[in-house]
Amino acid sequence: MVGYIVQRILAAIPVMGFVALFVFLLLRLTPGDPAAILAGDTATPEQLEAIRESLGLNDPIFTQFFRWVGQLLQGDFGTSILSGKPVIELIGDRMEPTISLALTTIILSVTIAVPLGVIAAWKQGTLIDRFVMLLSVLGFSVPVFVIGYLMISLFSMELKWFPVQGFRPIGDGVGDFLHRIALPTFTLTLLYIALIARITRTSMLEILGDDYVRTARAKGLPESRVLMRHALRNCSVPIITVIGIGFALIISGVVVTESVFNLPGLGRLTVDAVLSRDYPVIQAVILLASLIYVVINLLIDIAYVLLDPRIRYA
């Protein structure tokens, strides 16, 4: 078991290494002077020279890469072109809205989607199953920002239940926090509900055909027990796997949703950076998002140990 966990942690390192390499090469393979890209259009020749110096552009490319990784490991993500502040500071300031939105979305989605998926599989082919399936195709098809604007026009402009935009930290009061994060969460949650409900339904369907479910029924257990203890328990691995993989989708969705609802999070930071071609910020956000993704999936790999005794005692 310890071997398994160590192995998973070690396997995550080359993945992160490749992400870093990819981000590094992306900049180097761009035609033109990387220093000029990193410094922005308004840089003075002295600033350019200073950046060239720190990148060591005359060194072999491997040396440059490892020096850059070394800087990253020390928390040096460079300086924003737009604001002139260290990127790491900018990111720190913008973390809270993003994390809040991601967490509320995951919690709401899982609470709604898992029961939906279970019922759809149990009542396969009925009206409720078709409704869940249609909902999940809709979730994959309607762009998040379209849902966002529909929400705004309905709940903010027509019904005036929620503010159009803005964010309050949870420290300022839970009620206010929830009131303002509600619409962005509803917006983003549909995609995630679609994803989780779908995998829950498919894995439940598969498992409901398994022999041990038949055994459970042959034991004369009530259907609720068969579904929850025997079927759903065995679905937990595919479901949390998809929650982990879906985290990349959440990050993409957060970028869009923040932009629709004007939340001062990492997504807004990224979009502003794109508009002003502030590459150091984009680069840092990619690295950070990928790191979070890798860590979450690592945690999920470790969670398998708790969920599946076949791994625990391997």
């Binding site: 992400v19 990349a248 970028v255």
Partner: protein
């Protein structure tokens, strides 16, 4: 009882035409979706003959008009006809969707075959695939576009790259499981060269899943293009696309929500139709996969 005397079942193969008809008619939703898709594709191809107005001509006197007999869906902030822009916008979306699907499937098929067959390539390639999948696709696309500048080509590359790893994984897993099949081992025992085994026994197994995956990629690429344009990291607003029409309408949302909602409706319905068609194809081509649910 004797297997020697048992009758041999007659062939049960359907012509592709009959098959297509069955898929399209498999449910009313799919039928409606297919009709909508055909209409959208036709209108994008023949846009020049259909649109009532020039989609790029600025008419400052006609800014933000509500729908009327002249401007069916109203006008945008520069007085351009919204309907005409949406019809033209379909060209970009469809080109992006189809091109991304084809390129991603072909690239993924080749890389997946290599990974499924050659050990050291597999080790390296799968680490790369894991790395690529760790980068949220929108962020990756944003980075590419912001570095290389926005053009149809960069947007296409930016949208296709994140799709490739999924195809590689799919093909690889299909190849690995097919390699265990006794009929593949029989071919090895019969002295068939690797290339022949791939072509004859492995690639045909990937066709149905790849067609299905291709439809999903097409839908996802159209979605990504719309998001990129919406975030301002897409194709130059000179060329109308569904995403940048919406992006331009954002600040006027409270005055004329139609600029955002009409293209939003079109893009949603088109993606929905492609996804429904993809599900129908999946149910028809590969019942086993339908049960398992294709990784997407």
């Amino acid at each position: 009882m004797s297997d020697q005397t048992a009758t041999i079942a007659p062939p049960a193969r359907m012509s592709p035409l009959v098959r297509t008809r069955e898929i399209v008619l498999s449910s009313p939703l799919v039928t409606v979706g297919t009709i909508i898709l055909v209409l959208v594709v036709l209108s994008a191809i023949f846009a020049a003959w259909i649109v009532p107005h020039d989609p790029v001509r600025l008419t400052p006197s006609q800014r933000l008009k509500p729908p009327s007999e002249t401007y069916w869906l109203g006008t945008d902030a520069f007085g351009r006809d919204l309907f005409s822009r949406i019809v033209y916008g379909g060209q970009i979306s469809l080109v992006v969707g189809v091109a991304a699907a084809i390129v991603a499937v072909v690239a993924g098929l080749m890389l997946g075959l290599l990974a499924g067959y050659i050990r050291w390539i597999d080790a390296v390639l799968m680490r790369m695939v894991d790395g690529l999948m760790a980068i949220p696709s929108i962020l990756l696309a944003i980075a590419i576009v912001s570095l290389w500048g926005a053009s149809l080509w960069t947007v296409l590359v930016a949208i296709t790259i994140p799709e490739v790893p999924r195809v590689v994984r799919l093909v690889r897993s299909l190849v690995l499981s097919a390699r265990e099949e006794p009929y593949v081992e029989a071919a090895i025992a019969a002295g068939s060269p690797t290339f022949l085994i791939m072509r004859r026994h492995l690639v045909p197994n990937t066709v149905a899943p790849l067609i299905i995956q291709g439809t999903y990629i097409c839908a996802s690429a159209i979605l990504t293009e719309a998001i990129l344009s919406f975030l301002g990291a897409g194709i130059n607003p000179e060329t109308p696309s569904w995403g940048n029409i919406m992006a331009e309408g954002r600040i006027y949302f409270q005055i004329n929500p139609g600029i955002v909602l009409w293209p939003g409706l079109v893009v949603s319905v088109v993606i929905l139709s492609i996804n429904l068609l993809g599900d129908a194809v999946r149910d028809a081509l590969d019942p086993r996969m339908a049960k398992r649910g294709l990784e997407r």
